[in-house]
Structures are given as structure tokens and as C-alpha cells.
């Protein structure tokens, strides 16, 4: 049930500062960027909001740069990605291809070209879908989300960002301005199992890093992305794949829905873990 566009209000700030001032005055404004989720929600009547603030013109939220997120001694190998960076920009970025190839792999499998040209990384995070395609990557990459309000800036580690189904620590007057990804040591791995080969909602996604630190993150198997700490600990500690799979099955809670079954997701998650481990040896 579509919405009459005349009933929708849109604020169009010319700068980030102005946007944050608008939000602090009126935290009920819903930020929009590429609109690839917001407009679908409006079209189906699942989005109740009627008042929006347009981020699309805020170039301060764009840009991909080296640096930032550096841990001591590793400054300069990290990456800062502006929240308005589109998937197409991620795919084309030499620095992301080099340093976070699993993010490029994920971006390439989102929708089709039209969606990739408009969908943004910040939007994917803010939309907070359990099936958000970039989220397992950011979890496995130990990313940090940069939040900003009129009152200041803070950084939240990705695995502290979500508090529950479509809920996060982001305050209504805050905007996601950038995502910082620290240097990733080891092999990266990504796999999305979609309903079909393009334009597909994922049934399950797996992002993993096999290095001095082992990190595995699974999407579409719980209300939020699951960072499989127990399973990773088994593998990091030299445990068997079977033991890691058993640990994994305890960490995720996949459900039946119109697209797939809990049983399928559970088994495939385990299979993906094995494939990840095998491929990144």
C-alpha cells in the first residue's frame, strides 16, 4: 500500500553541521540516503515514518581513505569509509579491494547494478536488517562505527552496535558518518547463500578472517549479526572443524520464514564454516 508523496516531508540540509542541528532539534526525522530500503518500506506500507532528512547531498559523508582505526603501531593500514559510500564505489575502490576484499565480494552480490549504484554502507547499517549484506563483513572485520551528533563524535565497535532486532545504540539525533576498518591480518572469506544468484535476499551469509585472530560472523541466522566467538575460539585453539561446528550451532538461532528453514540455515552455517576453514588454510 504505497504512500502519497505529498504527505512526506523532506528536510534538505546543506552541510553535516546543519543536518546534525536539525536532528538535535527534531530527533524524529528519519535519515535517508540511497533509499533502496526506505522507499521499499514506504511502498509496502511497512514504514510508518513520514518526516525525513536527506543525507544524499552531504559530501562530507563520502570518501574512502587510508588511515584511521589504526591500532598502535599499525597506523595507516586501516581504512575509513564514508557512510554514503555506495556499493558500486566499494567495488571500484582499489584500496578496499586490496585491504577488505570480503567487503567487495559482499557488495558485488547485493541486488543488481541499479541497487549497487544507490545503496550505501551507512544505510545498510542503519537499516539494521538481520539480512543486511555488509554486516557480517563489518563484524568479522572488527569495524568501528563513527557516530556524530551536534554534541560530538563517538566510535562504537561493531559488535557493540546492535542491541537487538533492528535496534542499535545509535541515538535518534546521531548520524553514522563513517566506518573505520582496522588492518586485517590473514585471509578473508565471504559467502552469501541467496534465494537466487542476483537480486536475492540472503538465506545465510558468512564472513570470516583466518589469521592471527580468527573471526567469523554469520548473517540471517538471528535477529542481529552473530559474531561466532565460541566457534572461532575452538578453531583458534586448534580444535577440530566438527567441534567448531557444534559450537557454532549453539551460537545461532535460525528460523523458518518464507525464504528458507531454520534446519537448512543451521546445517549450511556449519557447512560454510568448514568451507571457510578449508579455503583459508
Amino acid at each position: 500500500m504505497p504512500v502519497d508523496a505529498r504527505t512526506l516531508a523532506l528536510q534538505r540540509p546543506r552541510s553535516l553541521k546543519s543536518a546534525l542541528a536539525m536532528l538535535s532539534k527534531d530527533p524524529a526525522l528519519t535519515p535517508i540516503a540511497g533509499c533502496t530500503d526506505v522507499f521499499v518500506g514506504l511502498h509496502f506500507g511497512t514504514l510508518d515514518q513520514r518526516r525525513f532528512i536527506d543525507l544524499w547531498g552531504l559530501d562530507e559523508l563520502r570518501g574512502i581513505a587510508a588511515g584511521g582505526a589504526g591500532r598502535a603501531g599499525k597506523a595507516g593500514q586501516g581504512l575509513r569509509i564514508g557512510a554514503l559510500t555506495t556499493y558500486s564505489e566499494i567495488i571500484a575502490s582499489p584500496i578496499i579491494r586490496k585491504r577488505v576484499p570480503m567487503l567487495v565480494a559482499a557488495a558485488r552480490e547485493i541486488g543488481g547494478a541499479q541497487i549497487q549504484n544507490r545503496g550505501t554502507l551507512g544505510g545498510n547499517i542503519a537499516n539494521a536488517s538481520p539480512a543486511g549484506d555488509s554486516l557480517p563483513v563489518l563484524a568479522a572485520a572488527d569495524a568501528r562505527i563513527v557516530l556524530r551528533s551536534a554534541g560530538g563524535e563517538r566510535r562504537v565497535p561493531f559488535d557493540e552496535f546492535y542491541t537487538g532486532y533492528r535496534a542499535s545504540v545509535r541515538q535518534p539525533d546521531e548520524l553514522i558518518t563513517a566506518i573505520e576498518i582496522p588492518p586485517i591480518a590473514g585471509r578473508q572469506w565471504w559467502r552469501k547463500v541467496g534465494t537466487r544468484r542476483a537480486q536475492a535476499i540472503s538465506k545465510i551469509m558468512f564472513a570470516g578472517v583466518n589469521g592471527p585472530v580468527v573471526r567469523m560472523a554469520i548473517g540471517s541466522v538471528a535477529p542481529t549479526v552473530v559474531l561466532a566467538r565460541k566457534a572461532a575460539a575452538v578453531l583458534a585453539g586448534g580444535g577440530t572443524v566438527a567441534a567448531a561446528q557444534a559450537a557454532l550451532k549453539d551460537e545461532i538461532a535460525p528460523i523458518d520464514d518464507v525464504r528458507s528453514t531454520g534446519g537448512y540455515r543451521l546445517q549450511v552455517a556449519a557447512n560454510l564454516l568448514a568451507e571457510f576453514w578449508r579455503d583459508t588454510k
Partner: protein
């Protein structure tokens, strides 16, 4: 002359389509036009006892009492109301119609109407339903004798689900009322079906109702009968408001409310000798018709006639039932019963091969119908019967036997299906239709006047090719009139793979008569000397074609097209996803009037069959489609499409134009069983489609 048929002439509608100039129904507006919407039932079964709404007077609201004529949609049985009179038999049953000058005022209008219901218990199971729309029995020979000759008996049960036609242009019409008359423009396949329905609902005399087809963005059967319902709705609103009314379904409404392919359960019990000869076939076909009869009787008919597959068998029994359930009525979709029943028989044939330890090609070679053999209904096949040629060509082209051996025990599989498809209406259907076609002389050539619609398959172009060559004029000199019931005769519906074979033949006869009349004169000369000239021809059944409707025996169709598919798949052991890598599609179609367009039909139908086999599933929850969005009802994207190698064979049908049979539907009959058979080759025993990864995983467990 004679250069159009068999050549890839330039499509008549191509340039308009690629430049965006082609006008589809939603591209049209009329002065003073209102927009219409439908308020539907939200329960599957029961009664509406009260209606509440808060719609102001700037809305036009219509219910069944506003229907000037009869409150049912004329089709086969008069059981489906145009608007509910209170009784509800399925979710999304139309109850009220609402119109407003501002399209946006209708957004969410269904939330402003509330029905109080007295609910009844719905039945969703066709097996236990107590309402049968149609029963058909086919008997041949002596079943007991047949099983007496058998050395082995193989049984199997196979299931298919709903399939949505998923034309990329949704259903839409505009009804324009006039002074005691009405014109309806729309995206539709059958102008005269819509005309008949409108006459019934409006109470207007036939000559006061006009139906005009607009450029149609896909039909596949989904716009065979459903547009009649939509047209009647728009007409009721237009007549009440005294203004044109446009009704365009959005995708969600189209998915929820319009017809789908009948789900089926096919049961086989087959007697065979150890050497592989089929001695007896006992087949039961159960179809889920949804809440109203619509076309279930005919879908069942085609289904049961094809249920024994392209095989010879002297002793058989086929029992078919189309049953009611409290779900939205199912209807026409390319193949029309044959994809379901040939899925059953072709999956079963491979099972028989396995049981006997016989090669699946060999088993088919032994039993395939040959010229001179009789079908399940006792029809004797002519020399154009091509089961063996298509089988052999497909096996050779695909290198089937080598791959079958080489891929055993791997993640790759290769499977085969052999199938056929009758062209035209079943039995006495074409005689009853009594289709007409006309050809009108123009100053430069001729104009085709038929009710057959272009819906992408190439009607305009193909019919013009036939006329051009029969008239010995250039293809460019032949025009095709818009299917407008004021201007064209009733050539019958654009369905059943009949447009080329039946209507094309009528036009060929018109053209030859026109040619005779012209003599040596050019159209311009004749026109100048004698004025306008129109030739009309009406269907005449070929001599000797005999059908007995009571015994369901005889010549079911004028001719059959024959097909063989080989599908190569790969199963991912980690995710159980099935990748269809390649399809070899061999089709014998009499004559390819336009080879590129015929190939396009085969490629497109094959892709739909692959979708049917692997991806497309209607998830029903409490009688309602739960995945009514394009993100959740899945058709293949460009990344999902297998490569398709098409080979067309031609064994002319004496009564088709230039030997042509039908081609539109057959291609969708083959892929699904070939996929299932390829999966079996890979080690997965599945008996229902779609063969989703979830089902593969379960089958392995």
C-alpha cells in the same frame, strides 16, 4: 516472391518497443478519467454480514447491487461472481469497487473499509475437498490384461505447486463509458472473452460493447481469462460514475488475487516387461482448482490427455479430478495442465528405467510413439510424429550418454525428458470456436483483421509473413489491425498454441482467395477499379478428424509438436544450491515461420520451466500467498539463466500454414522433469518441484 516465411524478417512492433514509444495500458489517459481499486476479502471462507467504511462522497463506491447485468463472469461455468454478494470462498475475493479522480487517494483505501465476517472453516486440501469441478476418465484397451502382461510394476507419486505467470506488466484496463455503450482498453490475450463477459455483466447489447487490446507486456495465459474480471470491475465503476475508469493492479495485488498454475498430484502405476516395454499405465491426476471453476475443466482435460506422455501403450486408464479449495482460483498458464502431468510421467519413466536397470534413453526409444501408433485417446499419429527424431537429436547434441557415465558420482548431473504438446483446442473445441479471420485489401497491400493478440510471441509479425507469401506481396505491405472487437472478427482466444496453426491457416486461405481475386492486378489497381475488398474465412476441421466427448476418445488435437530436453546441472555440496548450467532443447514444430521468434519461444518457455523446477514457489499460509512480492516470488534473473542450445526440426503438418504446428507452450513442458531426472542422476530422489536447496538437503539426510 515467397520470401517472408522462414526468414527472420524485422519484427513489426520492434522499433516502438525499443524506443519506449509502444503504448501499454498504464501509458494511456482519458479526459475525466478516474482511478479504480478493489476491496477484497481478508478471510478464506465465510460470509460478510456487515460493511463499514468512511469514504467521503468524492469516492465512487460500487458493490454487487450496482451490476446492471448478471453478477457472474461468463467463462465456462457461471459460478464466479463479479462481486461478492456476501459469500466468500477465498482470500482476496473482490467485494467492493472504489474510484476517485486522484490516484493517490486510493493508496491504502482498503484500510478505510471494514467487513464483519461470519467465518467458516476453509478447506485447502484438494484430496479431501467435497466439491469437484470436473472429472475425466480416459480408458484404452483392458487394464487388467495390460498388468497381466507386466513382469514388473512400478509406482510413483509426483507433486507440482502453484506457479505465477509473472508477466512484467501487471494486469490493467481502462473502461470508457459512452451513450449506452462501453469501450474497454486493456492488457489482454482474448478480446472476445472480455467482450462476452462484459455483455453479461453490463447488460448492454453486444454491438454496444467494444474491447480493444493495448500493447501487452506478457501474458503466458495469465491474461487469458483474468482480464474479463478486471474489465467487468472497471465497467461497473465507469457506468456508475459516468466517467472513464482506469484500474491497474500493483504487483502485490496481482500476485495475491489473480490466477496461477494449478497445483497437482500425479500418481502412476505402470506395468512393464523386463525388456522395457510398457504394458499398462494407470494414472491419476488431481488438480487444485482454487475456489471457482474458471478454466479447471479444460486444464484438467489437456492434463489428462498428455498424462501418459509421448509413449505407446495399449492398455491404460487415466483418471482426472479438478477439485475446489478455498484459495484464489487457479487458471491458465502456458502448458495448461501438460507441464504438470508430463512432469509426472517423465519423472516416472526415469524411475522405471532405474528399476529395470535400463538406460533412460533406451527405455524411451522402446516406448516412444511412432507414426501410425495410437495415443492414449486412440488418435492415430501421422508421419509428422517426431518423438524419436527429437530424442535422438537431443541425445546426440548434448553428448548425453558420455556425460551420464562420466558424471556419475560427482556433483554434476544430466537428465532427459521427452514430451509432446497438442496444438489448438482439444477435441471439438476448434469446431465450437468456429474462428474467423479476415483480410482486407489496402491501397498498397492488405490488412489482417483477427482477434489474435500480440503478447510478445510475435503474432503480428508471424501472421503478416504468412499472408505476405500466400498473397505474393512484400512483408512490408501487410498491416495488422489492432485487435478491436469493432473491427476484427472473433478468431478465438490467443491460447492453446493455436494462433499460427489455426488462425494463421485461416489467413492463408483468405490470402489465397484474395490473390485469386486480384489476378494480375496490384492492390492499387484493384482498389482503383473495384473499391474495397475483404475476404473472410471460417474454421473448417480437417477431414477425418473425429472426437467423442463422451468417451473422451479420438483425435484430441489436429497435430502435436514434439520435444526433448537435456538439462545439465551442478549441485553445490555445501549449500545444496542447484545451478542449471545448460539446456539442450530440441523441438519439432512443423515449420518455423520466423526462426528467431520461434527460437525465442523455446528459450523463453525453457527458462520458465527452469524456474518452475528450481525457484518458483507460492508459499500459501491460511489460504493467502505469503510471498507476494517480487523479492520473494523468484523468477530467474540474468545470472540464473542457463545457456540454451535450441534445435528446431520440421515435419510439416498438412493442415498448418506452410506446415506449421504450434510452438508457444510446449517448451515449458520439458525442463522440470529433466531437472528432476538430472538430480536423480546426482543422487537426489525428489518427486516434487520446486527442487529447492532445502528439499535437496532433506532428501540427502
Amino acid at each position: 516472391m515467397g520470401r517472408a516465411v522462414g526468414a527472420n524478417v524485422r519484427r513489426k512492433d520492434g522499433d516502438a518497443k525499443v524506443t519506449g514509444a509502444a503504448r501499454y495500458i498504464d501509458d494511456l489517459t482519458f479526459p475525466g478519467m478516474l482511478f479504480g481499486a478493489t476491496i477484497r476479502s481478508t478471510i478464506p471462507r465465510g460470509e460478510i454480514v456487515n460493511t463499514h467504511h468512511d469514504l467521503s462522497s468524492d469516492f465512487v463506491v460500487a458493490d454487487y447491487r450496482d451490476i446492471p447485468g448478471n453478477n457472474y463472469i461468463a467463462l465456462i461455468d457461471p459460478d464466479q461472481p463479479c462481486l461478492s454478494e456476501g459469500e466468500i470462498r477465498h482470500v482476496a475475493e473482490p467485494v467492493l469497487l472504489v474510484a476517485h479522480a486522484d490516484r493517490r487517494a486510493l493508496f491504502g483505501v482498503e484500510r478505510r473499509v471494514r467487513f464483519d465476517y461470519r467465518e467458516q472453516s476453509p478447506n485447502y486440501d484438494p484430496e479431501t475437498s467435497d466439491t469437484c469441478f470436473k472429472k475425466i476418465s480416459i480408458d484404452k484397451g483392458d487394464l487388467d490384461q495390460g498388468f497381466g502382461e507386466a513382469e514388473v510394476v512400478v509406482e510413483g507419486e509426483y507433486r507440482t505447486g502453484h506457479q505465477e505467470q509473472l508477466y512484467i506488466e501487471t494486469n490493467g484496463v481502462i473502461a470508457v463509458p459512452g451513450d449506452g455503450q462501453l469501450t474497454v482498453f486493456g492488457s489482454l490475450q482474448c478480446p472476445y472473452y472480455v467482450h462476452k463477459a462484459l455483455v453479461g455483466v453490463t447488460g448492454l447489447a453486444p454491438h454496444r460493447v467494444r474491447v480493444v487490446q493495448t500493447e501487452t507486456g506478457g501474458g503466458f495465459g495469465g491474461k487469458e481469462e483474468y482480464p474479463s474480471m478486471l474489465a467487468c470491475h472497471a465497467a461497473v465503476l465507469a457506468m456508475k460514475a459516468g466517467r472513464p475508469v482506469k484500474m491497474i493492479y500493483d504487483r502485490v495485488e496481482d500476485l495475491l488475487a489473480t490466477t496461477k498454475r494449478h497445483p497437482s498430484v500425479i500418481r502412476h502405476r505402470t506395468g512393464v516387461t523386463r525388456a522395457g516395454r510398457i504394458t499398462a499405465m494407470d494414472v491419476s491426476v488431481l488438480m487444485d482448482g482454487g475456489a471457482y471453476a474458471t478454466l479447471s475443466a479444460v486444464v484438467l482435460s489437456r492434463g489428462v490427455i498428455h498424462a501418459a506422455g509421448p509413449y505407446r501403450c495399449d492398455h491404460l486408464r487415466i483418471r482426472g479430478r479438478a477439485m475446489q479449495t478455498h484459495t484464489p482460483p487457479n487458471g491458465a498458464f502456458r502448458g495448461f495442465g501438460a507441464p504438470q502431468t508430463q512432469f509426472g510421467v517423465e519423472a516416472h519413466i526415469d524411475r522405471i528405467a532405474e528399476t529395470l536397470g535400463l538406460d533412460p534413453v533406451r527405455l524411451r526409444e522402446i516406448n516412444a510413439l511412432r507414426p501410425g501408433d495410437t495415443t492414449a485417446t486412440g488418435q492415430k499419429l501421422g508421419s509428422d510424429a517426431s518423438a524419436l527424431p527429437v530424442l535422438r537429436e537431443a541425445v546426440k547434441r548434448s553428448d548425453f550418454k558420455k556425460k551420464r557415465r562420466a558424471w556419475r558420482g560427482t556433483n554434476r548431473g544430466i537428465g532427459l525428458s521427452l514430451f509432446f504438446h497438442g496444438s489448438g483446442f482439444t477435441g471439438a473445441g476448434e469446431v465450437k470456436l468456429a474462428s474467423k479471420a479476415s483480410l482486407e485489401l489496402t491501397a498498397t497491400g492488405a490488412r489482417i483483421l483477427v482477434a489474435s493478440t500480440e503478447i510478445g510471441q510475435g503474432t503480428r509479425t508471424m501472421l503478416a509473413q504468412i499472408v505476405a507469401d500466400a498473397l505474393a506481396l512484400p512483408f512490408e505491405a501487410i498491416e495488422v489491425h489492432v485487435p478491436d472487437t469493432d473491427a476484427v472478427p472473433d478468431s478465438g482466444p490467443t491460447v492453446a498454441s493455436r494462433t499460427c496453426m489455426i488462425v494463421g491457416k485461416l489467413l492463408e486461405r483468405c490470402a489465397r482467395e484474395l490473390r485469386r481475386k486480384l489476378g494480375t492486378a496490384t492492390p492499387a489497381q484493384y482498389f482503383k477499379a473495384h473499391g474495397p475488398l475483404t475476404v473472410t474465412r471460417q474454421y473448417e476441421p480437417p477431414a477425418g478428424q473425429v472426437w467423442d466427448d463422451d468417451r473422451y476418445a479420438g483425435d484430441a488435437y489436429g497435430s502435436y509438436a514434439w520435444g526433448c530436453n537435456v538439462v545439465e546441472i551442478e549441485v553445490d555440496p555445501v549449500t545444496f544450491e542447484v545451478t542449471p548450467r545448460h539446456v539442450t532443447a530440441v523441438a519439432e514444430i512443423g515449420k518455423a515461420i520466423h526462426p528467431l521468434m520461434a527460437e525465442g519461444q523455446i528459450q523463453g518457455g525453457t527458462a520458465q520451466g527452469i524456474g518452475y523446477a528450481l525457484l518458483e514457489e507460492v508459499v500459501m499460509r491460511e489460504g493467502r500467498m505469503a510471498n507476494a512480492q517480487l523479492t520473494n516470488y523468484l523468477i530467474p534473473t540474468p545470472m540464473d539463466a542457463p545457456s540454451i542450445d535450441v534445435a528446431m526440426l520440421e515435419r510439416p503438418y498438412a493442415h498448418g500454414p506452410f506446415g506449421a504446428k504450434g510452438v508457444g507452450e510446449m517448451p515449458i513442458d520439458g525442463p522440470a522433469p529433466a531437472v528432476i531426472n538430472a538430480l536423480r542422476h546426482c543422487g537426489f530422489d525428489l518427486r516434487s518441484i520446486p527442487a529447492t536447496p532445502e528439499r535437496l538437503m532433506k532428501a540427502r539426510a
